[in-house]
């Protein structure tokens, strides 16, 4: 009988809650020197960066940044950002992507995973852009895009 009662105490050990991750739909990018022969990370000073179409609040406002997290749109296949360095140096970045609806888990529900297709940009202080890892996926932590600046 004791063994039977012991069994009832085992019952409580089966349930566990998962921690859900946030900001998993943001493209990760880093700034690199366009003047170096090999990849050398650099900083964008007095950076003000915000989304456009439609215009949004700044993600970064008068900051010095080496890495960027740029959230991608769920509704559109192109997400655009304006990048200021100082008051007058301005470039625009258009990121074309496809998205796929994914079920994460019973606790966290759904998310979108993205596949980067191409990037267009203006050339004021940006020299070039390279897509390093095209997948922007839940639970992954990779640099997706390298931005080479003067």
């Amino acid at each position: 009988m004791g063994v039977l009662l012991f069994g009832s105490f085992l019952w409580a050990s089966c349930s566990q809650n998962e921690i859900c991750l946030s900001n998993q739909h943001a493209l990760q990018s880093g700034f690199y020197s366009a003047l170096a022969l090999e990849d050398k990370d650099t900083l964008l000073t007095e950076a003000r960066i915000y989304g456009i179409l439609p215009e949004r609040d700044p993600l970064y406002d008068n900051e010095t940044v080496g890495k960027l997290f740029l959230p991608l749109s769920f509704q559109k296949d192109t997400t655009a950002f304006v990048l200021y360095s100082g008051e007058f140096m301005k470039d625009t970045l258009w990121i074309r992507h496809s998205s796929e609806l994914k079920y994460i888990s019973r606790d966290c529900g759904f998310t979108f995973n993205f596949e980067l297709d191409s990037v267009w940009f203006t050339r004021v202080f940006i020299d070039s852009v390279a897509i390093e890892n095209p997948g922007v996926n839940y639970g992954e932590n990779f640099e997706n895009v390298k931005i080479y600046i003067y």
Binding site: L4, G7, F74, Q75, F112
Partner: protein, 219 residues
């Protein structure tokens, strides 16, 4: 324990007697049980979103072998920030179990049962609403329509069973369940597979707590 030692000593003493005087322990009556598995109601206590119960029968095939049949239902319904979910389903479990108790005391119907079962669940599920929050751009809201899915699994079970009153048994089992095949074609994974457990896991440890009444057909 003392009873077991006493019976063992008795058997040892008995083995020195002439063969014609040795008595076989009386065989257990054969029959079947009708019972209820309380795993469903206990799950309801731990997780109010789940509602289910199942009924079972256990039949002596021989002294040590039992056939087990179980059927039940489990429904799930909840509203979360991320999504609303609803699932209705039924399940069936069939298999064999063997009594592993090494020494059976005379008159005792107690067992330690180890068994292998096959499980099948049929359920319909839907996410009436789900939301994906962006935090910068617009959030996304949509729904996943109803879909029907089948799940087949194998289950290894072990646990004791005791006759607490005349012909009335109480037992619990630990169940190691492994999904064999699932026919889900939807983006949505089942929150709970009826009779199996958490739908995200392909291998799972389950539990059963059963009350059974024994109906003998042969002494």
């Amino acid at each position: 324990m003392l009873r077991s030692i006493f019976i063992s000593l008795l058997l040892l003493w008995g083995s020195s007697l002439p063969a014609q005087l040795v008595q076989e322990p009386p065989s257990r009556p054969q029959g079947f049980t009708l019972g209820v598995n309380l795993a469903g109601p206990l799950n309801k206590l731990l997780d109010g979103d789940r509602t289910g119960i199942s009924f079972l029968t256990r039949m002596n095939l021989t002294e040590d072998w039992f056939f087990i049949g179980e059927a039940g239902f489990e429904n799930v319904s909840f509203t979360k920030e991320a999504y609303d979910y609803e699932s209705n389903g039924t399940f069936l479990r069939l298999g064999l179990a063997r009594d592993m108790l090494p020494e059976k005391e005379a008159g005792s119907m107690d067992n330690i049962l180890m068994g292998l079962q096959y499980g099948y669940a049929l359920q319909e599920q839907t996410a009436g609403r789900f939301s994906i929050f962006n935090g910068y751009w617009d959030d996304y809201h949509s729904r996943v329509g109803a879909n029907t899915l089948n799940t087949h699994w194998a289950e290894l079970s072990v646990g004791p069973r005791a006759e607490v009153f005349h012909n009335f048994f109480l037992s619990w089992q630990l169940n190691l369940r492994v999904v064999l095949v699932s026919s889900n074609s939807s983006t949505l994974e089942p929150y709970i597979v009826p009779g199996y457990g958490i739908g995200d896991n392909k291998v799972i440890l389950g539990f059963a707590y059963t009350l059974e009444y024994f109906i003998p057909w042969k002494k």
